[in-house]
């Protein structure tokens, strides 16, 4: 009798302790759609990561207000990659081992995206990076998608503007020394030389660098009549301030990563006349863009940029793909995602290539009187 009582007590205790775990796990799996976001919330890239989180949370609150996806509310888990590939890979393990996670958005840069890729590939989970643009990223796995468009498309666009519209013949290139920067510089060089232009000198800098005076002095010596900078807007502002201080007044052109109101806020008069491509333009009269800019500003007190808009597009696209798939089955979501045609994103429409890269359209902007205007 005592043994029986003891057994019953033990079994009951196990249930009491474990019960909440089973209950909450089962409940969440049933009535919500669990999306994972990987982004550099802390570290050198945290301003991008935080914008990712803001945009995705904004998109989810809109989706939930409209009844969610497939009639179920959306739940978000955010993981911090710290911009570090090792950390990103650990996160990928965490997401894929959680059976409630339906799909993953992120991360920010190509390096961490490619570090996460093999883990999503073997687990069969959709990886949708808003901003990874390395040409080998999306093609690396059938589960990986990128919506920023690759440098294979952006390089020729920028080279064409530099050569034919601005009239640069000899260009110097300064790029950040990471996967993305090298790719951007290479595709631009290939396209620019293809048009008959000459690259006088290519130099790079490491992440976290704040002094560009020495390298700019060297590039200036190369006799270039234009400068292409493959960097993000914050470094871009620092580069232009120091270029201006050196008195090196040549036309400057850069990829979409330069487009941000922060470029002008930080760069001041030194970025006047700068050319940058973009797929997203804050003063865009398009009603969807205007509504997004207004809600973002109302909620976070800051203007969104291109990267933020892409993160928003990623969440809305994923919601659309799950709706079209009609279930949260990974394979069904993947097929629906691959079949996306002309999805109306804020940062340009999205159609995937067989590799999983988006084909995007760009617009060239120029900074005039301290404002971005469309350059025609």
């Amino acid at each position: 009798m005592r043994n029986v009582l003891r057994t019953i007590t033990a079994v009951l205790l196990v249930f009491v302790v474990m019960g909440p775990l089973f209950a909450s796990g089962a409940a969440e799996a049933d009535d919500t759609i669990h999306i994972a976001l990987s982004a550099p919330i802390t570290g050198d890239w945290s301003e991008f990561g935080i914008n990712f989180q803001r945009s995705v949370e904004l998109a989810i609150s809109e989706l939930n207000a409209q009844g969610g996806i497939l009639g179920r509310q959306v739940r978000l888990s955010v993981g911090d990659t710290q911009g570090n590939p090792q950390q990103a890979a650990t996160l990928a393990q965490q997401w894929t081992s959680d059976p409630t996670v339906v799909a993953q958005i992120g991360p920010f840069a190509s390096g961490p995206s490619m570090a996460m890729q093999p883990i999503f590939d073997s687990a069969g989970m959709v990886q949708l990076s808003p901003t990874a643009s390395h040409t080998e990223y999306a093609g690396g796995s059938r589960w990986s998608f990128g919506i920023v468009g690759t440098q294979a498309g952006e390089g020729p666009f920028n080279a064409n503007y530099a050569y034919n519209e601005i009239g640069i013949r000899n260009i110097a290139i300064l790029h950040i020394n990471n996967d993305w920067g090298i790719d951007t510089a290479n595709f631009f060089t290939r396209a620019f030389e293809g048009l008959g232009g000459r690259v006088t000198r290519t130099e790079f800098y490491f992440e976290g660098e704040s002094d560009f005076t020495a390298v700019l002095s060297t590039l200036r010596e190369s006799g270039a009549d234009g400068l292409f900078i493959a960097s993000f807007y914050n470094d871009g502002a620092a580069i232009n301030i120091q270029r201006d201080r050196l008195g090196w007044g040549v036309p400057v052109i850069g990829p979409t990563s330069l487009y941000s109101p922060q470029l002008i806020a930080l760069g001041g008069s030194s970025v006047e006349g700068l050319f940058t491509g973009t797929g997203f333009f804050t003063p865009d009269p398009d009603p969807a863009v205007r509504q997004y800019v207004q809600s973002f500003q109302a909620k976070y007190g800051a203007l969104p940029n291109f990267h933020a808009a892409l993160a928003y597009d990623a969440m809305k696209l994923l919601a659309d793909a799950i709706e079209r798939a009609g279930s949260t089955d990974s394979e069904a979501i993947r097929s629906a995602m691959a079949e996306t045609r002309d999805f109306p994103g804020l940062a340009g429409s999205i159609t995937f290539t067989p590799a999983g890269d988006a084909v995007k359209g760009y617009r060239m902007l120029q900074i005039r009187n301290g404002e971005f205007v469309v350059y025609d």
Binding site: D44, I50, E203, E209, A238, Q262
Partner: protein, 287 residues
């Protein structure tokens, strides 16, 4: 071109030198490497920025604000990373400074946002031109501030009673205490001074690069630590010399080889030099 890189090197060197002094003061007195030096630099920059944006747009007031903020952070560090851990292995204090560095970086990124903030230009007008290279007043101010801090510190350490106390504590902590020197107050003041110098350096860097962000101290701290080791960790003139030499060598490395080799050359010279002269340029050989 040679002049241009020399000017670049001296400007950058001034900021390295100030931070290297900050490492040097703490290490010279306590034999402790303060890895939160970069964070004191960053916090100094933020308080300088607050002064410029909310009180008065004046570089010298900003420098005062930065120095004050650094002073307070130095005081906090001493209380928690050093005094609270007295009697424990020195490594515990060192790890604690690393912890504080991360704490301050993330704290500032939460409070002020992770994005870069713009610092307006000060004294950007050209002071003079040598061989086509223009030198701005700000660059001259940078060098002057570094020189002033050096002279004031030397006077403080070698010409005042307080300096005598600092030197006594640095030579023998226990004996100094037995001789009636209030060692706690001396050590606390040393940390605060190091914080103030780092804070000044941070404001100067923010003004020169027109930008500040929560992680600005990471690379600056690492390079200045190298400059301090290069110059001899215990010597303040050595720290200054190390800072300027590192700045100049790095800029010439970009000029003559490639931008990618900037840090490789800088740190290779550091390693080779230390193999030949482990105490650094002007360091004491005793320990």
């Amino acid at each position: 071109m040679f002049i241009q890189q020399l000017v670049n090197g001296i400007t950058q060197g001034s900021m390295f030198a100030l931070l290297a002094i900050s490492f040097g003061i703490v290490y010279g007195t306590l034999r402790l490497l303060n890895f939160a030096t970069g964070s004191m630099y960053m916090i100094g920059a933020y308080f300088g920025w607050l002064m410029v944006h909310h009180v008065a747009s004046n570089l010298f007031l900003a420098l005062l604000a930065g120095a004050a903020a650094g002073y307070v952070v130095g005081y906090i560090l001493e209380r928690f990373a050093f005094r609270a851990l007295r009697g424990v292995a020195r490594i515990a204090s060192l790890i604690c400074t690393i912890g504080f560095a991360m704490f301050f970086n993330e704290l500032m990124s939460v409070v002020f946002g992770a994005e870069r903030k713009a610092m307006p230009s000060f004294y950007a007008d050209t002071a003079f031109v040598i061989q086509g290279v223009s030198v701005s007043w700000l660059q001259i101010i940078l060098v002057m501030v570094a020189a002033t801090v050096l002279i004031l510190l030397q006077l403080l350490i070698y010409r005042t009673k307080l300096g005598l106390a600092i030197r006594a504590v640095s030579l023998d902590f226990k004996t100094a205490s037995l001789m009636g020197i209030p060692t706690d107050r001396v050590i606390s003041l040393t940390f605060s001074l190091a914080g103030a110098v780092a804070g000044i350096s941070g404001v100067l860097a923010a003004a020169y690069y027109n930008a500040l962000f929560p992680y600005m101290g990471n690379m600056a701290g690492l390079k200045s630590f190298s400059a301090a080791v290069f110059g001899g960790l215990t010597s303040i003139p050595g720290a200054i010399l190390g800072g300027y030499l590192l700045g100049i060598i790095e800029n010439f490395a970009v000029q003559f080889i490639s931008s990618g080799y900037r840090d490789i050359i800088g740190f290779s010279i550091l390693v080779i030099f230390l193999l030949l002269r482990p105490q650094g340029l002007l360091g004491r050989k005793t320990d």
